[in-house]
């Protein structure tokens, strides 16, 4: 199994979620994160004090999937999250050794 972790622009969340749903992904865990990267941040100004805020709001999706779904999942995320502008984000893939569904105790691909 694989754990796919995707950092995307927040307003793309709904589209990505729908795309994943369409290809049969049943579970996603989402975290609000701040991203530092090539895309530059903005400046805030409070009574003459300038704060350069480097980070940008992003959301991180974590999706545990069976190995064979990997390609379609990556494709689905790429297509749904892409705007073509800097800051679209990254997808990271890691190996997932074990999964347990807490409710039932099922493990492995059954637990996804």
């Amino acid at each position: 199994m694989k754990l796919v972790s995707a950092i995307i622009k927040p307003f793309k969340l709904d589209e990505v979620r729908e795309a994943l749903s369409a290809i049969g992904v049943q579970g996603i865990t989402v975290t609000e994160v701040k991203g530092f990267g090539r895309q530059k941040g903005h400046t805030e100004l409070y009574r003459g004090a300038e704060y350069v805020v480097d980070f940008l709001p992003k959301v991180k999706l974590e999706i545990a999937i069976p190995e064979d779904l990997l390609e379609v999942v990556l494709e689905a995320i790429e297509n749904a999250a892409r705007t073509g502008k800097i800051g679209d984000g990254k997808i990271f893939v890691m190996d997932l050794e074990q999964v347990v569904r807490i409710r039932t105790g099922e493990t492995g691909a059954d637990a996804l």
Binding site: E44, L45, Y46, R47, G48, A49, Y51, V53
Partner: protein, 436 residues
């Protein structure tokens, strides 16, 4: 009433006090029929409005500007000062400020408010010579709300780093050693500044210059916040600040129009003048910032409004609509500079600009009162030099005494929390609480 020039306040008083004008300035027992229900109705309301300026107005204005970890401790300062000064004013502050004594300080006639009475069966009560148509209880309360907001304003200068215990001790001493005497010199019948022709309608000098200068001294004595200039210290929630600024704006009608101590034409003019200057100052700061920095900010327009309110305070009973517009526009731009250029130039960390807004705005307003006052409106002649004198003396006295008090408190119990606690945030460290 709030005219340093003694003949001025006596003059101002004439309309409002048909029944008494005492040579010695002491409150007297009068018939209940002396009281004007209309004036009393307005002064009860004005008192509520000025209290509302401090809690929750100022508390929110300041609370929104600090970092989240310090918001409760910032609110707590205003609230605790409100409770503390209430008791202090009752015990001895009012007596020392507003009863006859010598030119420098009042007497002890009203300690624990002794002698301030309302006698139901006899249909008698006391009134103060500065406000002959309302009960002395209402006059005392109205003045108390001024005594409360002044120290609360100072807290903006040392936000996010002072010990709560040290703050309480400092404010106790400061209120008695700075606020009370200055109020006596300026407002009490017989105060020594009362014959120098300085005009201060509603407290530009006593409240705002006093608080601003004390704040500046405190910012210098306490030093900068840990990380100042390197770490982001952006206001955590300007919604709170804008609510607070709005409450200050509305409450200021009590402050300025209430200083007419009557529901009359003078109160109406004061309200109108206040509104005009405030609107103009808010726009002035907004456009100044828009031009200088490319964006009009919420913090900017709110600060501009407060700057206008501060600057018009000494002038509210003396100028006309055009004067109010001018004072508003000038103070908006000058305070913008005070809270940005001046502060960065001199490098002190006046965290929430107690000096940049209240000090600078108070000075601008006091001086411009000398320029724009209209004799027909205020009934008194204004003089720029007299205004400058009032400003200078207040600044000097306040700065020196504030410095001494702070150094003493520092020596005895210490002024600042230590660095690690400052990092963790005062809410948790001092009060054991947290905003989720």
């Amino acid at each position: 009433m709030k005219t340093i020039n003694r003949s001025a306040w006596l003059g101002a008083g004439l309309a409002a006090m048909p029944a008494l004008a005492l040579a010695d300035g002491a409150p007297t027992l009068v018939d209940a029929s002396t009281i004007s229900a209309g004036d009393t109705a307005w002064m009860l309301t004005a008192t509520a409005l000025v209290l509302f300026m401090t809690i929750p107005g100022l508390a929110l204005f300041y609370g929104g500007m600090v970092r989240r970890k310090n918001v409760l401790s910032t609110l707590m300062q205003s609230f605790a000062i409100c409770a503390l000064i209430t008791v202090l004013w009752t015990v001895v502050g009012y007596s020392l400020a507003f009863t006859p004594g010598n030119p420098f300080i009042g007497g002890f006639d009203r300690v624990l408010l002794d002698g301030l009475v309302y006698l139901k069966d006899d249909a008698k009560l006391t009134t103060h010579p500065l406000a002959g148509t309302i009960p002395e209880s209402v006059f005392m309360m109205f003045q108390m709300t001024f005594a409360i907001i002044t120290p609360a304003l100072i807290t903006g200068a040392f936000a996010e780093r002072m010990k709560f215990s040290a703050m309480l001790v400092f404010m106790t001493v400061w209120s008695l050693a700075v606020y009370v005497p200055v109020a006596h010199w300026v407002w009490a019948p017989g105060g020594w500044m009362a014959d120098h022709g300085v005009l201060d309608f509603a407290g530009g000098t006593v409240v705002h210059i006093n608080a601003g200068v004390a704040g500046l001294v405190a910012a210098l004595v306490l030093g900068k916040r840990v990380g100042y200039g390197r770490e982001a210290m952006a206001p955590h929630n300007l919604v709170l600040t804008l609510i607070g600024a709005s409450m200050l704006w509305v409450g200021w009608f009590g402050f300025n129009a209430g200083s007419a101590v009557a529901a009359d034409g003078r109160a109406g003019m004061a309200m109108m003048i206040t509104q005009i200057a405030t609107g103009a100052a808010a726009l002035a700061w907004m456009f100044a910032e828009w031009i200088a920095k490319g964006k009009p900010s919420v913090l900017g327009i709110a600060s501009g409004a407060v700057a206008g309110l501060v600057a018009i305070t000494p002038a509210a009973g003396f100028v006309d609509a055009k004067g109010a517009l001018a004072i508003g526009l000038i103070s908006g731009v000058v305070c913008y500079w005070g809270a940005t250029g001046l502060k960065h130039m001199l490098g002190y960390d006046d965290s929430l600009d107690a000096f940049g807004v209240h000090g600078v705005g108070g000075i601008v307003g006091a001086l411009l009162t000398g320029v724009f006052a209209v004799k027909a409106i205020g009934g008194v002649e204004a003089s720029l030099s007299a205004q400058a004198l009032g400003v200078a003396i207040t600044m000097a006295y306040c700065a020196v005494v504030t410095f001494v008090i702070l150094k003493l408190v520092d020596a005895v119990i210490g002024l600042r929390v230590d660095e690690e606690k400052e990092r963790e945030g005062l809410d948790l460290v001092l009060h054991g609480e947290r905003v989720e």
